[in-house]
């Protein structure tokens, strides 16, 4: 059975994004079985990545599993949505071992729980006790300012904006002055030698 007819039977839509890139949207209950059928029946043997997008306004995470064939000529993106509150996903580390570290990172950065995952511990961060930092309701700027205040300016430091403004104005004034001087000089010369041009013409 080919991919399109199989998905048609499951009443799923296969959207072609590019020559080699397809996308399927599925709900959470059928996610695991669909991933397994991609692996076993259609030869999408590699799990490239598991991505998470935070749709804060709609209140869910969009999870995308990228699967690739052995020949590396086709990628299929299996997309699903989960609730932001108490987010939880089935772990894939028993099927694809590389999923372990991807899920661990997602747990750290978005707070998604993976029941049955063996190593849901610190990954890149250490002793992090705040909200997961890549959730969009985490106020990064406020956190940064509370942890790392800016260095105080030196006493002799000048405001760059105002200094540049002053410099530009001075330059403009100098240019105007030079133009005026040139004009008066030309006028004076014209007064002193009024007959020069006439002579030349003759």
């Amino acid at each position: 059975m080919d991919l399109a007819s199989k998905l048609e039977r499951l009443s799923l839509e296969l959207v072609q994004k590019q020559d080699y890139l397809y996308k399927v949207t599925v709900n959470l209950e059928r996610l695991e079985s669909l991933l397994l059928s991609f692996l076993n029946e259609f030869g999408y043997i590699t799990l490239d990545s598991i991505n998470c997008r935070d749709d804060l306004e709609d209140g869910f995470f969009t999870i995308t599993y990228c699967l690739q064939t052995k020949k590396r000529d086709h990628i299929v993106m299996v997309q699903t949505k989960i609730q932001r509150e108490n987010a939880s996903l089935p772990t894939m580390h028993t099927i694809w071992p590389q999923a372990e570290i991807m899920e661990r990172e997602m747990h750290e950065m978005f707070g998604v729980d993976f029941p049955g995952h063996p190593t849901l511990i610190d990954f890149a961060l250490e002793y992090w006790d705040n909200m997961p930092p890549l959730r969009r309701d985490f106020d990064t700027l406020e956190y940064v300012n509370s942890m790392n205040p800016f260095r105080k300016q030196r006493g002799d430091a000048l405001d760059a904006k105002e200094e540049m403004k002053k410099k530009r104005e001075a330059k403009k004034a100098a240019k105007l002055k030079a133009e005026k001087e040139a004009q008066t000089k030309a006028a004076l010369e014209a007064q002193n030698n009024p007959s020069d041009e006439v002579k030349d013409e003759e």
Binding site: L125, E126, Y127, L141, M147, N148, R151
Partner: protein, 211 residues
């Protein structure tokens, strides 16, 4: 912690002995000599914390050859006089840097490359990097640039050598004097998880030395 023979100046007790026997000038000359030797043999442990690590191989190899000034890399912090921190520091890295720095023997100096250890650089609004390194450990020389060229790094070496030669007060002395200030700052961002907790308390050796 008294600055002994391993500090920037010679031992105080030694100084007293010299003064007793009327050899104050000899003491001064010796101190100058020690400082001169010290400035001419800076052993570096290069801690590549960020992107600036890529500037260090050309600095130490034949193109720019920092070894002609007595600057040479070593393997471990215990052998080193100078630690080069090249680039931004995450909290996770800062923990290791503090541990590395405290393993080094006095006199010890710190040189930073790039703008990130000075004011955060392009990572100023990251949830995971520090902005002012000199709040946590004393920085002797900060070479600016993003990234500084090997010429600038060598210029930093020259500046450090000049300071050592003149017997100026170095960062490690400030660290010992303001130890509580630095430790408070470290605890503020690292949440008290500063490794290793089992280390000997070198700063209170007289009162038992247990951390």
């Amino acid at each position: 912690m008294e600055s002994g023979f391993y500090g920037s100046s010679l031992d105080d007790s030694l100084k007293c002995k010299f003064e007793e026997s009327g050899l104050e000038n000899t003491h001064k000359i010796m101190e100058k000599a020690v400082n001169w030797f010290r400035s001419r043999s800076i052993f570096v442990v290069a801690y590549g914390t960020g992107c600036g690590a890529i500037e260090m191989p050309p600095t130490f190899t034949s193109r720019y050859d920092a070894e002609r000034m007595g600057v040479i890399g070593v393997a471990t912090p215990r052998q080193a006089d100078l630690i080069i921190l090249s680039g931004y520091l995450a909290y996770k890295t800062l923990r290791r840097v503090i541990r590395t720095y405290e393993q080094m023997q006095r006199p010890r100096y710190i040189m930073t490359l790039g703008s990130c250890p000075i004011n955060g650089g392009m990572y100023w609004d990251s949830y995971n990097t520090i902005k002012k390194l000199d709040d946590y450990i004393p920085v002797d020389v900060a070479v600016t640039g993003c990234m500084p060229r090997p010429e600038a790094v060598i210029d930093g070496f020259v500046l450090l050598q000049k300071r050592i030669k003149n017997g100026e007060k170095a960062g490690w002395e400030k660290y010992d004097e303001n130890f509580e200030f630095y430790k408070d700052n470290q605890k503020r961002v690292l949440g008290g998880h500063i490794d290793p907790s089992y280390e000997t308390d070198w700063y209170n050796l007289k009162s038992g030395g247990k951390a």
